[in-house]
């Protein structure tokens, strides 16, 4: 049995301790917003927050997150500036990679209120989107920054 804290709730799951966090979230906790894209930490579709940092859940064995606070896309509040910006700018196309992308952006904005172009590229360059929403992701980030600033949050 492994104890987990996800989106503020405690869970106990009976899985081998080498199973990646991604599959525990998806198949055991039914939190399917976090996506499988590559399984080797290359694409970013599985990005979640672990103790506030953006991490790739497909390469993290479940035993390594004992006692840590995990937040998934479902745990990011609906009124979070990133979620609102993503709707305002109509960012997603197929939408499959976007939960990971949004979690990456949310972590970036919690670190730095107004990232410059270079910081944005550094944070986002290893995220893969096959629909080609990159242009709107950039727009979405700008809008999220504005929303956050207006409301004095993030």
């Amino acid at each position: 049995m492994i104890s987990l804290n996800v989106n503020g709730k405690n869970y106990r799951v009976d899985v081998p301790d080498d199973v990646p966090l991604l599959w525990v979230l998806r198949d055991y906790l039914k939190l399917t917003g976090t996506k499988y894209g590559c399984g080797i930490g290359e694409c970013g579709s599985c990005t979640v927050h672990i103790n506030g940092k953006a991490e790739r859940s497909c390469v993290i064995p479940i035993k390594e997150v004992r006692g840590k606070k995990i937040i998934t896309i479902e745990g990011l509040p609906e009124n979070h500036p990133v979620k609102r910006a993503w709707i305002k700018e109509q960012v997603p196309q197929c939408g499959y990679c976007q939960p990971g992308v949004m979690m990456q952006v949310a972590a970036l904005l919690s670190e730095i209120r107004k990232p410059d172009a270079e910081r944005i590229i550094n944070a986002m360059d290893n995220m893969i989107c096959r629909c080609g929403t990159h242009t709107r992701i950039k727009k979405g980030i700008k809008t999220a920054v504005q929303i956050a600033r207006k409301e004095g949050r993030v």
Binding site: C94, G95, Y96, C97, P99, M102, I128, G132, T133
Partner: protein
Amino acid sequence: MKSHPISRRAFLKGSLAATGLTIAVSVTPSGYRLLNASERKEEALSAFKPNIWFEIRPDNKVTVTVASVEMGQGVHTALPMIIADELEADWKQIKVRQGPAGAEYKNPVLDDQLTVASASVRGYYGPLRKAGAAGRAMLIKAAAETWKVPEEDCKAEKGTVQHKKSGRKLTYGQLCLKAAKLEVPKDPPLKKESEFRYVGKPMPRLDIPKKVSGAATFGLDFSLPDMQFAVFARPPAYGAKPISFDEKAAEGVKGVRKVIPTPQGIAVCASSLDSALKGRDALNVKWDKGTHPQLDNEFIEKSLIADLDKPGSKVIEKGDPKKALGEARKKIEATYFVPYVAHATMEPMNCTAHVREGRCDVWAPTQGPLTAKFVASDVSGLPLQKVNIHTTFLGCGLGRRARPDFIVDAVLVSKVVGKPVKVIWTREEDIKYDAFRAAMSHRIEAGIDDQGRLIGWFHKVVSPSIMKDIAPQAVVGGVDFMSLWGLADFPDSPHENRIMYDIPNFYVEFLLSDLPIPVAPWRSVQNGPNAFVIESFIDELAHAAGKDPLEFRLQHLRNNMRAYRVLETVAKKADWGKPIPKGQGRGIAQHSCFGSYVAQVVDLSVNEKDGKVKVHRVVVAADCGPVVNPDTIKAQVDGAVTIALSSALKEEVKFSNGGVKSANFDDYSVIKMSEVPEIEVHIVESKEKMGGIGEPGVPPMAPAVGNAIFNATGARIRRLPFTPERVLSAIKK
């Protein structure tokens, strides 16, 4: 070309593991489909459902059935917009239901229920307008009868019918059960386009909130109680067969339920994905070398280029190209090559199936629900009416998901174990067992006269058959028109994927390559590779003629005003002809496909030390005829430009030892945010015939980049992708 009736069963038997879809080679008369009397009687009790496209219930909700599948192209919004407009529904009333698989849902342009060929909006636009208009007419009649007033005195507006004189009002919810008893008009009057409320306006997509919250269900997200997980050990080389495998060891892994050898590989079915993967490792399969052990990238390229010297089949012969070339003032010849490219959709292939006594259910992210139904029926052995296809959201499609191989996998395993089964392709399988965008080789010889006019053109193409796995009967006389799309098309094709230039003497020859690598449509099908060749070569000709590339193109497009106009527009928006920063290059290209016309201008820099290409800006002009959702059109063009740039700069599948070597995003590299330029999209206002928009943004990109590299460096690169090594070696030459 008229429709080719095929026996799906006979066809499926031959190529079960490949695919079974029919393709769009015929056009059926479009019409909205009325429900027959018996269907209506059942529905009349609880809802107003005058046709298969929508229903209104007393709770005032309007549920629109969308026959196409949602893969990011916004069809779950665009098609409801058409109905809502003609129905005069309030947008807030609209709910969307993914349509089931059924012949009645066929797209009139395709004569199949496929979401391919950028055909959804242009195909369903007419039928859905009529369907909505019929509903509006019936609701008005129901209100007029209620109030005992003439219908002419009533008008429908935003989900209500109003009596103009008295101001009385009834909602569609209040009227629906009465309307349900009325006769459905055969030819209801349509709104004037100037009265459109939603069509033509940028409407927010209905599927986006779910995709932002994380609640959207893609194929991989679907699950059932007691569902099993299955993965396959698949052959590492084409045609390879297992020599040995350790079934006992696999079945000894905790959670593994069954090992199932199949024609497409050895399935391991388990209670969790983790167990299935560990079971697959334990199988320790030894494979033979397969049918083409010598196959690698060099072998492929040599084979396709060598085939250019072999005789092929004549596709087009116009005028007297031989004589024209003899009289030409200048002649140029060039050979081009385009490699295999993977789809690599972000959601890997997957499917969940449950085969029970007398019933088969399939939950799949598929572009071809009807194909899925035929395939599931065939594999399960159950009649079609016992098969239910539930289409989920698709994590991108790109053409890959019209191929039903992943559906075969899941139905087969579920049939054997008698439980619901989810089959997951790992990313490695998704890339290795993809059916790629076909590699091809081209040789062109063309001549210009002393006025710089194009007078003759010989074009030889060698390509694997795209249609072999889709509709083999449509490959006639050795000619596969889908391989030729953009250069030549079926005689009566609704897509008009032909070369648009005026060439008085023109000859096209085609030869099928017999390479064993499976291929399939990839966003824009071969319009992409073929436009790369045609538009790069047109640039070569412009240079040979001493003309500006824009001017040379316009000179040969005087009989094609739509192509002419997008070129003019893009040139103006991109300041064509004005000086550009030192060290930069600028290129232009145009292409039309699926009824739409697109031109692009690219500004880029080439680092002459390491050969790296940095694209700064892409300007696009597109004429796709009347517009339904302009915001989606812009998003689709952004996406098309981005993936086309990815394939032009970076993508090539690697092969070795008779199979695919590329396996994941670490060795199959795709575009990153730092490589995506500014993209500016201009929609050219047009009252011409409606075209598609999912794909037409792809083809001009690669040649525009190649032409800009030539402009910057003087090096002409006739092979994709434009990797730093290739660019550097071209500059050094």
